[in-house]
Symmetry: C2
Subunit: 222 residues, 2 copies
DNA sequence: CGGCATCCGGGAAGATACTG
DNA sequence: CAGTATCTTCCCGGATGCCG
């Protein structure tokens, strides 16, 4: 413990009352927004975050978690004794970032420089379904998928024109089940790859409709 | 000119197909989002950007403008010969960032750490009106303001429940005129400062209603 | 293993001065 | 006015090691 630097000039910040500037103070540091993204489906442990964000080193992750906690965007929480582990969880205010991060993601996807062949995390892929979902394309479809991506499983539900995605048990009830690597599922949904490369159970025709439900937005013209 | 480093590994980037990650590649660098913010009401010259973003040094501004141009978010444009000056202007895709930057600003304003007493640029203040505007509060009010903030003048129009803000001539027609420093107008609208500190012409009662039209959102509770 | 501290190299940011 | 050149400072990213 060191008490030096009582002055502690709160890092580098924009000296600006503008809300947008403050937003960049809060989540504009490198990796900060992606840490928030990874927590949007629920709490995670340090090691999970590290595994889901390759390229982010442990010391920087520590710094970001400290900063985001001080900002009130997330909390560290200790799980009940049986599995006494520490997890990081967004606060309700932190969860409110979801629509903005999704909108930014949808906007950035239209960049000519965007490369969809790069690796993608399970969380990011499931969030992309929420941001690309087209209610028009879905019509009055009602369907439930369970999607298993590595260690994580999600339940994707389409009903009443709306889409919902949440963490789920791998064996939760659903009309169709997909097991795949994130990259493979991304290639199928967004890249036109054949369905044969996925492990599908249940209603295969429903899975075949999935790419049509989440069309990529058109690229930005000059 | 130096041609070394043909490899040119496109700066630092997140190696991630996620749209949100790409968005942070595009506008997550320091000052980038604020440069975009300053251009949301129209093109500006290098010196104007520099004046409106105190703390941003010339060399960094040059780098950001280069990066944002390569990304297709803005263009440099040369004005017709009479006033042969170069300006920077958002592309239509760049302008689409407005609702996201406003939403982030509104969200960040609810941070316990947000300090509204810091300096604010004319553009940022006028944008804040768009993001804080409450149609409920406005009811069926119809009103037009001309707001003069230093070198810039804006026209703020409320009609049919909607708000519109745009650059305007200082003597454009309006129901009421306000001339002030950005900080003074901010203190009146958001800080409860008395109207006497503003230079007002025209319908003074209309100006008195302004703070009620743009209520600050409640702070985030834990 | 999870979390955090420390050291180091490279590179971006910030301040200042300079040039067309 | 519109940038460029240079120098310093600090952040980022990787490696290592300590401690619970």
């Amino acid at each position: 413990m060191k008490l030096e630097k009582v002055t502690e000039q709160r890092k580098r910040h924009y000296d600006d009352a503008c809300g947008t500037a403050h937003a960049m103070d809060l989540i504009g540091e490198r990796w900060a927004a992606l840490v928030v993204r990874e927590l949007l489906f629920g709490p995670k442990r340090f090691g999970e975050l590290r595994a889901d964000l390759p390229g982010l080193s442990a010391n920087v992750l520590t710094q970001r978690l400290e900063g985001l906690e001080e900002s009130g965007i997330l909390q560290r929480r200790r799980l009940p004794p049986p599995a006494s582990a520490q997890v990081y969880e967004l606060t309700s205010w932190g969860y409110e970032l979801e629509p903005m991060l999704l909108a930014l993601g949808r906007w950035a996807t239209r960049s000519p420089l965007h490369d969809p062949t790069l690796p993608i995390s399970p969380t990011a892929l499931m969030l992309s379904f929420k941001s690309m979902y087209s209610a028009d394309r879905a019509g009055d479809l009602t369907a439930t998928f369970v999607i298993r991506l590595g260690e994580y499983s999600f339940r994707l539900e389409i009903a009443g024109g709306a889409i919902g995605v949440e963490k789920a048990e791998p064996d939760a009830r659903a009309d169709a089940y997909i097991s795949a690597e994130p990259a493979a599922l991304g290639a199928f949904v967004y890249g036109g790859a054949p369905i044969d490369l996925l492990a599908v159970e249940g209603d295969r025709a429903l899975v075949a409709r999935l790419p049509g439900l989440v069309p990529l937005p058109p690229k930005a013209g000059s």
